[in-house]
């Protein structure tokens, strides 16, 4: 049985202009021990997916359809109390800007202890032992547990947040941009820690980021989102042999250190308005390969086992791949 199933999830936000369809029919599955990378640009709905899974959507947002099942249990049907018990014990979060997620007036140890105490009765001595163990696990010195957050560097605070996510030994960790804003050396250390938890303890992980190289290096499965929808879904082939023009655009726009001088492309235009999204493919207005057919909803096509693409023109992917590397293809049309 999959650990987490997200099926046709729809999340809407009330805004002054009307209801914005922030997430519109997103489905994916996380098996035990698997790391799924969710990649997309700002506003594509990737953080909203995380919030919906954890049941922490802001008051203006609500789940309008679909289902989220954790170990077979539907989270939508749970009472707030049941959800609260489940959160952190089963699904824990390493939040975006985790740097500022610790309370400055409490020691790090007391904040970790609070998370434990909220869910299970444990004598103080054992609690302290558990915290020391977790500090070791994320590469912090256990003696520093009684420090205040300001005595920690950014990378140490981030590790403390990972330790905090681990206190109750959850089955799934949701890491939302866990290294954004950190220096590259620290980022590398943190990602190695996270990967270590995943490899050694078999933790399942939902890794959300805009950095495609981070996803490529750390995920078993990749979901590419755009404007609230999944564009492409699969294994490492998603970046190696992309089919969807949006994935192709992202791959050719991403400056990869491994390649020497290569012309980078820039996708023209801006994402659509989610209050009144276009009929059919969400990417059509920016897609250099769009045709009249793209005005109708694209089918989900399995191009290889486990590799699914939402595009009318998967049969032309080879030609797209060739042309997408050329910046001229993506030149903004003269208006």
């Amino acid at each position: 049985m999959p650990l987490l199933e997200v099926e046709n999830l729809e999340v809407r936000y009330r805004t002054q202009a009307g209801e914005a369809k922030a997430v519109d029919g997103v489905s994916f599955v996380i098996e035990p021990g698997m790391c799924l990378g969710l990649v997309g640009e700002s506003g594509c709905g990737k953080s909203t997916v995380a919030k919906a899974i954890l049941g922490i959507l802001p008051p203006a947002g609500h789940i309008a359809g679909g289902a989220i099942r954790y170990a077979g249990r539907d989270l939508g049907g749970m009472t707030p109390r049941e959800l609260r018990a489940m959160r952190w014990r089963d699904i824990a979060l390493v939040p975006q800007s985790a740097m500022n997620a610790l309370d400055p007036v409490y020691t790090v140890e007391s904040q970790l202890a609070e998370a434990i105490a909220a869910h299970q009765a444990m004598p103080a001595a054992r609690r302290r032992g558990r915290i020391a163990e977790l500090f070791e696990l994320v590469g912090l010195e256990p003696d520093r547990a009684r420090d205040y957050p300001h005595q920690f560097s950014g990378g140490m605070r981030q590790r403390a947040m990972i330790a905090m996510a681990m206190v109750l030994d959850p089955g799934l960790i949701v890491a939302d941009e866990p290294t954004t804003g950190l220096d590259v050396l620290v980022q590398d250390q943190i990602l190695r820690r996270i990967r270590d938890l995943h490899d050694r303890l078999g933790k399942a992980m939902l890794l959300i980021t805009h950095d495609m190289a981070v996803v490529a290096e750390n995920s078993d499965r990749i979901v590419v989102m755009y404007a609230g929808r999944v564009m492409e879904y699969g294994g490492e082939a998603v970046f190696r042999t992309p089919y969807h023009p949006y994935t192709l655009g992202l791959c050719n726009a991403f400056p990869d250190l491994a390649y020497r001088a290569r012309a980078l492309i820039s996708i023209p235009g801006t994402p659509p308005n989610l209050v009144a999204p276009p009929e059919g493919c969400r990417f059509q207005a920016r897609c250099p390969f769009a045709t009249a057919r793209c005005g109708t909803p694209p089918p989900l096509i399995e191009v290889a086992p486990g590799h699914v693409v939402a595009c009318h023109h998967v049969d032309q992917a080879e030609r797209f791949r060739e042309r997408a590397a050329d910046p001229e293809t993506w030149r903004e049309p003269a208006r």
Binding site: A216, G249, P255, L257, R260, A261, P327
Partner: protein
């Protein structure tokens, strides 16, 4: 690259007093302490050259940009602009002339523009300062800057306000504002780190175009080495206020010599790499910028530190053509005089 350097820094220093300046310290006679944000750097940028300044946060990259522009007063050393020293004989007129020639683009376009100004007002503001009496010329320069920054057709943008534009468009407006007065030197401080991947290349390509076609000298400050490969002709790597390696962009990225540069390059995730990158072997985190270690300031973190590193501060020496490194590992390769100066 041809031509004399547009901007040069020699032994530039910027120290910030952190303690020992107030009344209490007068009474206690505590020795003043300084944070050495820039501690003796020498660099030059020629027309058409894009120099990338890389390093971790706190290494002094942004301070270097601000000090080269004289937005910060240097504590010591010299900045020369087109061969002329900037510290001496400065009058309002020379300062204004320098401001016209040297401009900056900031990291966050959402904060860099006045929300109450239209695009035309923002881009036109520097022009009205530098060309107050020439309306036709101002208009012409404004439209040229908009066109060069890729805001085409300009009529679509002139009367719009920042809240009506996307992040990428805002950054183009900020760039149009900086280049409106046709500067010779441009500082771009993390110009794409706030922008989405899909539109970064557009901004980076603009910088390449300014250098190659308009012969600007550009200082590109970023912590992101992968974008540097794309824009920079040369790269300088900073560590705690010093340049520790400098050279042609591909040389520094493909064959870095300094252990710190090697660690930085090795820590960048790559899309095609799978999980094969070796972990960094650096020890601990950056040293305290106020209480710098003796000898090489990198030695406490260096996996290859030797005895000499604890004692002597390495100078930035030429070890191959257009490749300088400040590290004792390469002492024997040094192309400077056989008896090296004491530091």
């Amino acid at each position: 690259m041809v031509g004399e350097p547009v901007i040069e820094a020699r032994d530039l220093r910027k120290w910030y007093p952190v303690r020992g300046r107030g009344f209490a310290s007068l009474l206690t006679r505590r020795k003043p302490e300084f944070l050495k944000a820039i501690d003796g750097i020498t660099l030059s940028i020629r027309p058409g050259e894009v120099l990338g300044l890389a390093g971790e946060s706190g290494s002094g990259k942004s301070t270097t940009g601000m000090t080269l522009l004289k937005l910060h007063q240097p504590t010591g050393g010299e900045v020369r602009f087109q061969g002329l020293g900037l510290l001496v004989n400065e009058t309002n007129r020379t300062r204004l002339a320098f401001r016209r020639q040297a401009q900056i683009v900031f990291q966050n376009p959402y904060e860099a523009l006045n929300p109450r100004y239209t695009v035309a007002q923002s881009v036109g503001e520097p022009l009205s300062i530098h060309f107050p009496h020439d309306r036709d010329r101002r208009r012409e320069m404004l439209l040229r800057a908009m066109d060069r920054a890729g805001l085409r057709p300009s009529e679509d943008y002139l009367d719009r306000y920042p809240h009506q534009l996307s992040g990428g468009q805002l950054q183009r407006v900020a760039i149009a504002r900086a280049i409106s007065v046709e500067p010779r030197f441009l500082v771009a401080d993390e110009p794409v780190s706030m922008l989405d991947v899909s539109i970064r290349a557009g901004i980076l390509n603009l910088l390449c175009y300014f250098a190659s076609e308009l012969h600007m000298a550009i200082l590109y400050i970023s912590h992101d080495l992968s974008t540097m490969r794309h824009v920079c002709t040369r790269i300088a790597v900073m560590y705690l206020g010093r340049i520790i390696e400098q050279g042609a962009a591909d040389t520094v990225l493909d064959a870095p010599l300094h252990p710190y540069t090697q660690a930085l390059v090795g820590a960048v995730p790559v899309m095609a790499g799978g999980r094969t990158r070796a972990p960094s072997n650096l020890i601990g985190g950056p040293a305290d910028a106020i209480h710098l270690p003796g000898g090489c300031r990198f030695h406490p973190r260096c996996p290859r530190a030797m005895d000499v590193c604890r004692e002597r501060d390495p100078a930035l020496d030429l070890v191959a053509s257009d490749h300088e490194v400040a590290c004792h590992l390469y002492d024997s390769l040094s192309m400077s005089a056989p008896v090296r100066g004491k530091q």
